[in-house]
Amino acid sequence: MTELNQLTIEQACVGLRQKEFSSAELVSACLKKIKQVDDELKSFISVFPEHALAAAKKIDQAIAKGDELGPLAGVPYAAKDNFCTKGLKTTAASKILENYLPPYESTTTERLAKAGAVLIGKTNLDEFAMGSSTENSAFFTTKNPHDYSRVAGGTSGGSAAAVAADEVVYALGTDTGGSVRQPAGFCGVVGLKPTYGRTSRAGVIAMASSLDTISHLTKTVADAALVLQALAGRDDHDSTSSNLALDDYSAAMKKSVKGLKVGLPKEYFEVEGMDPEVKKVILSAVKKIEELTETPAVPINLMAPDYALACYYLIMPAEASANLARYDGIKYGLSLVGNDLLDSYLKTRGQGFGPEVKRRIVLGTFALSHGYYDAYYKKACQARALIKKDFAKAFSEVEIILSPVAPTVAFKIGEKSQDPLSLYLADIFTVPMSLAGVPSLSVPCGLVRDLPVGLQMVGKWFDEKTILRLGHHYEQSRK
């Protein structure tokens, strides 16, 4: 029998409305699962049982009274611990924010609350969302539910593991260079990174502001469409959020995929370090998609993804080094008092930040420093313009681009932690889309040595509906 915590959003919404079970029961089932597995799995930094049950009971009362319900009413979710939640601890998995209580709420969690969603806890991540495995969390490493000796991916590894292990129905993440798509791929769940500007960044702890994209992880593509509908849209608190009209994602998703033109960039299959078994699984998924669309996939050319990776690892640390300047030990967070103000800054930041964060701050400071700015940062921003053009050209030929999410399956905990460059390579297929700002969906497409493989579907700017449509039809065909 299916336990309540194993339900999808769609199933939970039906069950709640038909009064088969209550929101309090659904939330309790998730809390029970968390209690059972999370001591070892370590998806969560904080769990809020009282807060969640109180919110669930409110929804149950509304259901009993026959009130109009929000689209996600009564369904529990988890937020990555870099979403500010008013009065609830928000750490970014950093010692520098270990006890931070935000005085305000992020737009995203506020929109979910309006839709009736119930926040159950906050999930683990790489410190300040810097990493690819959650091994950079200042607190602990999240394990992969499919194999506890392996990473869940990162940086939204806690969210991916929580959804994959049925600790929660869905979860929020942030995707700056692949931080939702890659852990979704590693854990075998669906991850959607919308177009940059489709969702609001307000109230989410900033890493690289021109890349950070509010994203989510779900058990099905249909659920991804439901959450997007609740999150998307212009927000006055984020001037980079777009006011373009939204689509009806759930309706658009069901339309036929016949005749849909997908492209296959050969550069994304010839990368050094690519696991041949992963490639095989991806190519058989492409075959399946050709059957669904009744149209052969078109070979296309994209710039080799290693250019994007080089570009990304300049732009991201540069923006992060500026964003993280705000942690000075004065307004909030860890504060270590030294001999004078400068000494206090040095101590607070030197001890408050972990190794990867300091490494990126140093790298970013270098890229922006006098004498190197033109050769590094400016060159990377010019390369970024080329990458965007390259995608625009590809999208003049096809509607969707298919690629692997990552070159390998989930790697062993500790395997790459001493070699930052090899860890950065885990993002090679996801950073180009982040630089271009295009929407991308990670969909489970098979197993290699019993570990999940993710297929990436990339769409045109603001065309989330088409990747959701293909994702949904592909997912249905695998049942």
Binding site: Y100, P103, A325, S335, L346, R349, R359, K378, A383, R384
Partner: protein
């Protein structure tokens, strides 16, 4: 402009760490010097791209002239209290900081 291959020694790391207001141990400096040199070596790839005359792109969706009314909005006393409670050092309604001059 050509990308120079930088060899970062621990003295240069020291300088950057000061600019970024980070106290690093000697061990950290040496470790980062080696690791960052490997990352900078990877950046040499970008040299192969012809970017002459290209406008550097800092944001992707090309929104322009996003304005809002410049108005003062009230902050509730409760929010004010919560903001102040987060400050490590304070005196009454003020943040306490070390002497600057």
């Amino acid at each position: 402009m050509e990308i120079l291959l930088m060899f970062l020694d621990s003295k240069q790391i020291d300088h950057l760490a000061k600019l970024a207001r980070l106290a690093l141990s000697q061990k950290e400096k040496e470790l980062y010097a080696g690791q960052l040199a490997a990352v900078l070596e990877y950046f040499k790839k970008l040299q192969a791209l012809d970017t002459v005359g290209l406008e550097p792109m800092s944001q992707v969706i090309e929104l322009k002239n996003i304005f809002r009314v410049d108005e003062i909005k009230d902050c509730s006393p409760d929010t004010q209290k919560k903001i102040l409670e987060n400050a490590p050092g304070r005196t009454g309604q003020h943040l306490k900081v070390q002497k600057i001059l």
